[in-house]
């Protein structure tokens, strides 16, 4: 530690830290534009100039390291004069028309010029003008306002890992741009809006829609992945105008993903239902809440009386709140219905009894970047959980070994040590080989529960290497992503991953679906476990079994079955054939609009209070940012009334907090085991990896009902749309198909027509058909055989 003095105040500082960091910590304000604590130091704007005793010239505080005994003056005459001079220079080419600038009112340049600028510009000559750039549907540009701080450029290089913006030209002609224009591809691109200190980069959907001072900020939690990024929803009157990050170093630092930033557009979708709907004579009719509730209660009672409670299936979205999950499972179980689930895209539940109570990263989010080795198992982590992807990138930049095993090549923004891309039928075996290698390497007897699988496996060099690296790494983590969880042999994947981890000393992280899978599990939204993971005497059906069984009634909560579930064809058919389907949804669309009987309009997260539990197990409560639209109501209130009308005990909650407290109480009585138990695996009959298989990904902006309705995201470069069938050149040649052709894609008796996208990231004998699109909603299993023919 060195001692320095800032404006007469004695402070201690880490040697080598910059003056500006120390000043920030001490609450001494130094103006700045190019400096940002999360970016490298560029020292190009010179706004942060301060006086340092015994240094001849004033120095930039952002690029001057502290030394012992240094005396810094941030407000001395010399410092002030320099800061004012810099300000004047910066304003020479900057338009002085804040009233027509979208950034006006929340502009760093405006603020700083108020403090350091002059009332009148001495510059009477012509100013330069710069042509705007088209960066795609998310970020708007007004490049004449750019002051060349290069924060956006450094963000692309350092944080996003997709360097797209650069400094083009020289001197007076310098411009920020891409040179060759294209839509920004980074899933974090919107952060440059917050970084840009002026109005050069602003939000395209929000542009000119409101002034900063008209907005009220409401702290909220982003609802699209298990990170639970902290955000502010900005409202004007009752309308959500935009979402911006709320700093939380432990979770999202200062960033949010584009998905979390622009999804608010979905709250205002035309498909929102704002009053209860009843189907009468095949047509939707508006109803009042009382009638809608009565029809629901009567119909459910009728099905239960005639066919039994096990003919009712209750399916919730993993994005529903903790309270909603709890109330609906409480209601169902009180009716003796145990078919409750929130696992929409998983298909293998054979090991569910031996899993830990809730999915977890196995470490705090901040620790992910400190790992020495990260083994991504079927995880397209950047798209699945963009901010976990960011942590992995940080680890990789610090030299961690990132290794991937997947069913297709993903375009990661970090470099991989090795990448194995295998046919889905070979996925388990590839992992088994690594697991076996780990046991062989340690010369340890293979545990009984996996012995049958490992017996027939051959260990190759790659497997040996990965096993050894996992063993040698001080801190290693195996991350199970979507493909691992959705895989038809997910139980094998989980069990082997745990066995591998146990042998090598690695940790296992299960990065689950949606915003609240952990909350759903702890609330008891599972067929075999109640709240706090307490095993139930009766085990109900899982999601896939509920649909496959063709039950008489379905209660769907925030789910669009044909877009959200693993087997959309079967789900749709079940919904179409059921006697009674009630959907508690914010939207009326798709298969439910076609076949539902009652729609109880619930609100999206912006209009309700609730709790999400993230992948680290952090409980994050949020309040409603705005009032419920029309007659739509928060899910927990709808369930409370439903519970009361069904005459179930204990549904008289007055707030969502009360529900949450009740769950806490149950949980406090439980002991939690975090590690998975040993699930007995039998020998695996592997299908041939020479037959054509479907692989499925839910593209980043197709994962849930809200993002699917955000037009800006749908137009973005990484939207994953329009729906197409992707396969590699090799298969394309064999099928005599090429980009843009139409192919007929068949699974079982279902067939659809899809555009062809030739994509060499897909391995041989595989075709990627994305989920979450109505175009692909008639197909069947996510990972299964399929056929493709020319149309």
């Amino acid at each position: 530690m060195v001692k320095i003095e800032i404006d007469g105040k004695q402070v201690e500082a880490e040697p080598g830290s910059m003056i500006i960091e120390v000043a920030d910590r001490e609450g001494v304000h130094i103006p700045r534009f190019c400096y940002h604590r999360k970016l490298s130091i560029a020292a190009n704007c010179r706004m942060c100039i301060v006086e340092v005793e015994k240094m001849g010239k004033p120095v930039p505080a952002c690029a001057t390291p502290v030394t012992d005994g240094m005396c810094v003056f941030t407000k001395s005459e010399k410092a002030r004069a320099s800061q004012k001079a810099v300000m004047e220079f910066l304003l020479i080419n900057h338009p002085l028309d804040c009233p027509i600038c979208d950034q006006g009112g929340e502009c760093e340049l405006q603020d700083v010029s108020l403090g350091f600028g002059q009332d009148i510009s001495r510059f009477a000559e012509g100013k330069r003008a710069v042509k705007d750039k088209n960066l795609g549907p998310l970020v708007a540009t007004d490049m004449t306002r750019c002051i060349h701080c290069t924060r956006c450029v450094r963000f692309g290089q350092e944080i996003a890992g997709v360097p797209e913006l650069g400094l083009i030209g020289r001197g007076e002609n310098t411009e920020i741009g891409m040179y060759i224009e294209h839509s920004m591809a980074s899933e974090l691109s919107g952060n440059i809006i917050d970084l840009c200190p002026v109005g050069a980069l602003t939000s395209k959907p929000f542009r000119f829609a409101a002034r900063a001072w008209e907005l009220r900020a409401h702290a909220s939690i982003a609802a699209h992945d298990c990170v639970g990024s902290n955000i502010y929803l900005h409202t004007r009157c009752s309308e959500i105008m935009r979402a911006v990050p709320n700093d939380n170093e432990a979770i999202n630092e200062t960033w949010i993903s584009d998905r979390d930033r622009y999804s608010y557009q979905g709250f205002a979708s035309d498909e929102r239902v704002t009053r209860p709907l009843l189907r009468k004579e095949g047509k939707w009719q508006d109803a009042d809440w009382q009638t809608a509730f009565q029809v629901t209660v009567d119909s459910l009672k009728k099905v239960i009386a005639e066919h039994g409670a096990d003919q009712v299936g209750v399916i919730l979205s993993p994005n529903a709140t903790l309270e909603e999950h709890y109330l609906l499972q409480k209601l169902a179980r009180a009716l003796d219905c145990h078919n409750i689930d929130h696992r929409l895209r998983e298909t293998d539940f054979s090991d569910q009894a031996s899993l830990s109570q809730y999915p977890s990263l196995g470490m705090p989010i901040t620790k992910l970047e400190k790992q020495d080795m990260i083994f991504l198992l079927g995880a397209n982590i950047q798209h699945e959980q963009p901010l976990l992807g960011h942590r992995v990138r940080k680890a990789s930049l610090q030299g961690a070994n990132v290794t991937a095993l997947s069913v297709m090549q993903h375009a990661y923004n970090f470099s991989l040590n090795s990448q194995q891309v295998v046919h889905p039928t070979a996925f388990v075996n590839a992992l088994a080989a690594i697991t076996k290698a780990a046991y062989q390497h340690a010369n340890v007897q293979v545990p009984a529960h996996i012995a049958a699988v490992l017996e027939t496996i051959d260990v190759d060099v790659t497997a040996q290497q990965i096993a050894e690296q996992l063993k040698d790494a001080d801190k290693a983590s195996i991350i199970l992503g979507n493909t691992a969880l959705y895989h038809p042999q997910a139980a094998y994947v989980r069990t082997l991953a745990h066995a591998l981890a146990q042998q090598t000393g690695a940790s296992v992280g299960t990065v689950s679906d949606g915003a609240n899978s952990a909350g759903a599990c702890l609330a008891g939204s599972l067929p075999h476990r109640g709240p706090a993971g307490i095993t139930q005497n009766n085990t109900g059906l899982d999601t896939q079994a509920m649909f496959a069984a063709g039950l008489k009634a379905y209660v769907l909560f925030n789910v669009e079955p044909e877009l959200d579930c693993a087997n959309p064809g079967v789900a749709s058919e079940a919904v179409a054939k059921a006697d009674f389907v009630v959907a508690m949804n914010p939207y009326n669309a798709g298969i439910l609009a076609q076949y539902g009987n009652v729609i109880l309009p619930i609100v999206p997260v912006s209009e309700t209070s609730g709790t999400f539990i993230n992948i680290e197990g952090i409980w994050q409560h949020f309040a409603a940012a705005t009032v419920a639209q029309g007659q739509a109501r928060p899910g927990w209130k709808v369930l409370r009334v439903l519970g009361n009308l069904l005459e179930i005990e204990g549904f008289n909650y007055v707030s969502s907090q009360e529900v949450c407290d009740e769950i806490r109480e149950i949980i406090n009585t439980q002991n939690f085991t975090s590690a998975d138990n040993e699930h007995m695996l039998v020998r695996l009959e592997t299908a041939s990896s020479e037959t054509l298989w479907r692989i499925t990904q839910w593209p980043i902006y197709r994962v849930d009902n809200v993002v699917r309705r955000a037009p800006a995201l749908q137009a973005a470069a990484s939207s994953g749309g329009p729906a197409a069938v992707h396969f590699n050149r090799h298969l394309a040649d064999k099928l005599q198909l090429t980009d843009g052709d139409t192919a007929i894609v068949k699974q079982g008796d279902e067939q659809i027509r899809l555009k062809v996208a030739v994509n060499n990231a897909i391995p041989n004998h595989c075709a990627l058909v994305p989920g979450g699109f109505s175009e692909t909603a008639n197909l069947l299993d996510s990972f299964a055989e399929l056929t493709i023919v020319r149309s």
Partner: protein, 168 residues
């Protein structure tokens, strides 16, 4: 799902160019390929009649495993790199202070008159381009111009006629 398409651009660079770039690459530590951007662009520009197409910039980026924008930035920054076609002979006339004091104005005028084009233009037949450049670092023999790798100093209109006559 953006995907890394395998680069097929390397064959835009001639074998000779690639060999020369490789030589430069050897001079820098591994992983510091970025340092070779400037020599690589010179080499490739020479291969392509004195100018760089976007495809060639991309090819250089791929060859050096750099983000495209990193190469665009350099190519746009330095005036020695041409991003549109130039004449067979690029005549770079110094416009900086020493040359200015030694009447480079008349040199430019003479060139313009003789070739029938203005500075920063190219003759119809594609033979000559006139380019105004900054100090060529030969001030003591101002005025100065450069054609290819050749400097011509202490210029007079007569000298210029002789130079032009000597060019193919």
């Amino acid at each position: 799902m953006a995907l890394q398409q395998l680069s097929q651009t390397a064959d835009l660079l001639s074998e000779a160019s690639r060999a020369k770039i490789d030589m430069w690459l050897k001079k820098y530590p591994a992983e510091q390929q970025r340092s070779a951007v400037i020599p690589a662009l010179h080499i490739v520009q020479e291969q392509n009649q004195g100018w760089l197409t976007t495809e060639l910039l991309d090819a250089v980026a791929d060859y050096l495993a750099l983000p495209k924008i990193a190469v665009y930035e350099v190519a746009n920054f330095y005036s020695m790199f041409e991003l549109s076609p130039v004449g067979r002979h690029k005549i770079c006339v110094c416009s900086s202070i020493s040359c200015m004091l030694c009447d480079n104005e008349s040199i430019m005028q003479h060139l313009e008159k003789r070739l029938g084009i203005k500075m920063d233009e190219t003759t119809q037949d594609g033979k000559f381009t006139l380019k105004r450049v900054e100090c060529l670092a030969a001030c003591r023999n101002a005025p100065v111009l450069q054609i290819g790798h050749q400097y011509h100093e202490n210029l007079t209109p007569e000298k210029i006629d002789a130079i032009l006559d000597g060019l193919e």
